[in-house]
Structures are given as structure tokens and as C-alpha cells.
Subunit: 250 residues, 2 copies
């Protein structure tokens, strides 16, 4: 039977979701815990890789398991084998053809940053520190112009193997929450480093290096060098992955 | 000249503020950074010790320094010698007789916790996880009954060397903020582990182990075993220390 696992993790000490030759991957830690329970090796399909250091509040994996454990008991059982920085929030039994990667209808990310003359250790683990003063209205305008279906080649890191660089961004919102500025990006799918480049572009719009009105030209250029820089992973959290759960559930 | 330094730190990897025979103390890391700048050993007076693992958003130290560096430049200079988990927010030149410990008029702490069937790695570093469902009204009632001047012997860990166990608690508030429950405690001064024991007592009131109406009897007993348990340091943050800054500033 097929089960979807919604996991939360602090990405700081992970090399990302996917197994790597070296380093501690979420995939490995999670599949090892599952092997302890099911007494056999299991194979996970993740909704997305997530780079080293990127956090997730609701990453989704699907996995075929050999026997039934009730949905409310399964997270507790798995969590008893997991370290402090990884946790299963929820388990949902799904149809055999459900695939966490291919059935995703979109994702919601938040890139957090804070503007301050000094580093703030109590938020620094999950947010990027900038000493620039930021104009949120300019950041919002840049975000607005990124919305829609575009060729995001200019917002894609080198080394991407995507067949097409056309993606649809549903929305880019900028919120102020206490000390934090949250850049929320929703879209159908994302290119390699795309959200971190969008965040870097909004940051540069916020302190005046990029004129928000030039966003259409940056998109048209298809040139990575025209967009803002890639912000570090610490500020990025995968917040939500969208599925048609009603259709997926058994 | 005498300067007050307001510091923020993530307490996870510190043994507390005060130097210890073993382990990494805030005092040591901060005074070493100052020695780099002033080219001589300096002696800090901290507003409070803070236990191993306890965080601070605005800890205050006073220190005599041999020469003047402008208030706006000093934090930047010190921070260039500090690790990621410790930062100087602000520097204020104060009268020679200012003492961060003895001139404090009170402190504000917040103990954060969250109630959930599963651990949440993205908030777990700064909050205590409980699987109990909590009745916030009962927690608020317990907090209300702790307000005022009382003998807090029942809320003091063994090993305290305080001359008297009478303290004044100005307020105990319970807030809900997203996933977090915040227990905010303000008082003139605190006994060893007092805030963590207050938090443990409110937690037990919240899930029904302690009847909030028995708080006066717990106080009267003077017996540590009558109050709730000491919650772990991770949930505790020293948020603010009160001084008469107008009088203190040079």
C-alpha cells in the first residue's frame, strides 16, 4: 500500500532531501526509520529535492509499505526513530498510482529575511540578514511583475536539467511579520534555485539596485546575470505542497 | 568609561552567561571579543547569569573600557569578532556607577511552548514540546494568582544562595501566537529556575494536574515539591531588562 508522509525539517544540518554521495540527506534518515518499522528497505518519492540548508514545514513523500499501520499511529511510530531536526506531521494512505513528485499541483515557499544593523541570532537560523533598508512597496511591485506564465531562464541557476524553463508563478507576496520580511512565492513548479533568485531580485529591488519596472526585460533577457543574486538557503522554507487530496486518498 | 552592552544570543550552545570551569560561556566569548578591540582584558558585569541553554534577546552587561568608540560604531566593531550565535544589538555609555546587575529594576522573560502530537523541528529550538492539550484559561488563572509579592520558596530550585526568597512578580500573561503558547513573566528579580518552574506549574494547570485555585497554598507551603516541574531551558528567553536609562546615560 501507498502512503504519503508530510514531514517538517530544519534543513541546517541536511544536504537536502535527496541522497548524496556525502552528507546527511533527509531521504536517508527517513527511509532508515521506515526500514526499522517495516523490517525491509523502502523507496521514497519526494515532492522536491530542496537544496542543502533549505527548510521544510510540509515536505511530502510517497512510499510503498508492506503492511498497514493506522494513520494516527504511523507518525508517532516513525518519529520515535527520527532525530530532533526531522519529524513526520501526518500520514495519509493514498491510491497506488499517487506520486508525490508528479501529482503535485504547485508549491508555496517563503523566503524570510530581516533588515538590521546587527545580526539577530534568535532569528538568523531561518532568515537572511541584510543591513540594507528595504522599500517593501518596490519589492511588492517586482513580485507583481513576476506573476504569471513566463520563461524563467533568467531565474534559473546553471546546472539545471529542466526540459523547459517556462513556469507559472501564481503569486509573489511580501509580508512584514515582526522583525521578519516574508517573501511568499506560489507556483506550479520551480527551476533550480528559482525561489532564492526571486528573493535576491526582490531584495535588490528593495534597496534600489534593480528598478522593479525592469522585471519584464529581465525575464525577456533569459540571462541569469540580469536577475538578482541567489540568496543563501537558510532563509528558505518549503511551506506547502498542493495536491488533489480528495482524489488521492483511498 | 563605562558602557552597557545589550546582547542577543541563542543559548543552545552556551553553558550560560557566567564563566564555568568547562564549556563555552557568553561572558568568555564576549570579553574575548572586547579584548581584541581594547587590547586589554575587560571585566563584564551581567544583569543575570541565565542557565545553560537559555536564550536572550536583550541581555545587558556593563563594562569599563579604556577608550571611546562611538555608540553606533561599537556594536559593529564587537560583532566582527563574535560568532553567529551572539550579537551586540546596542551600546550605551553610562555613568561610572552604573552596574548592570544591581541597577536592574526588573526583567521580562518569555517561556515558549507548543502543544502538538508531533515534534516541530522548525520551532523546537526555542520552544518546549508537549503532547498535552492545554486549557489556556486555567493557565491564565494560575498566572494571575502568582502575581504580587510572595515568598517564592516553592518556585526555587535547590542550590539557590539567595538571602531571601521573597520576590515580586508584576505579571504573568499567557498569549497564543500561531503554533506557540507564550508565558510572559515580569518581575523585580527571580530565584534560581523560578521562571522555568512557573512555566512548569502553568503547564500542569493547563492539562489539569494542578488546580489553579491551589496556587496560594503552593506558595504558602514553601515546598518545591508542591509546584510544577522545571521545564527545560530551550523554551526560555530573557526578553528585556528594565533600567532607568535616562538616569544611567552619560
Amino acid at each position: 500500500m501507498n502512503v504519503a508522509l508530510i514531514t517538517e525539517y530544519d534543513g541546517t544540518d541536511f544536504v537536502g532531501f535527496q541522497s548524496q554521495k556525502n552528507g546527511r540527506a533527509v531521504y536517508d534518515v527517513l527511509s532508515q526509520a521506515l526500514s526499522q518499522i517495516y523490517k525491509e528497505e523502502v523507496h521514497l518519492v519526494g515532492c522536491s529535492r530542496t537544496d542543502a540548508g533549505v527548510h521544510a514545514r510540509a515536505h511530502v513523500s510517497s512510499v510503498n509499505v508492506p503492511f498497514f499501520i493506522p494513520e494516527d499511529k504511523l507518525p508517532i511510530a516513525i518519529n520515535s526513530f527520527l532525530p530532533d531536526d526531522l519529524s513526520v506531521r501526518r500520514a495519509v494512505y493514498v491510491n497506488d498510482d499517487f506520486n508525490a513528485r508528479f501529482d503535485s499541483r504547485g508549491k508555496r515557499y517563503i523566503y524570510r529575511l530581516y533588515s538590521s544593523s546587527y545580526r539577530k541570532p534568535l532569528i538568523d537560523r531561518y532568515a537572511y540578514h541584510t543591513t540594507y533598508k528595504l522599500d517593501l512597496e518596490k519589492m511588492r511591485r517586482a513580485g507583481e511583475l513576476l506573476r504569471g506564465e513566463h520563461d524563467f531562464a533568467a531565474f534559473c541557476a546553471a546546472g539545471s536539467t529542466a526540459a523547459t524553463t517556462v513556469r507559472t508563478v501564481y503569486s509573489v507576496n511580501v509580508f512584514e511579520k515582526g522583525d521578519l520580511i516574508e517573501i511568499e512565492v506560489q507556483g506550479n513548479a520551480f527551476l533550480y534555485n528559482m525561489v532564492r533568485i526571486i528573493a535576491g531580485t526582490l531584495l535588490e529591488a528593495g534597496y534600489g539596485k534593480i528598478d522593479p519596472e525592469t522585471i519584464p526585460q529581465i525575464l525577456d533577457s533569459g540571462d541569469r546575470r540580469c536577475a538578482g543574486r541567489t540568496l543563501p538557503p537558510r532563509g528558505l522554507t518549503l511551506e506547502e505542497v498542493y495536491y488533489d487530496w480528495e482524489k488521492a486518498k483511498v
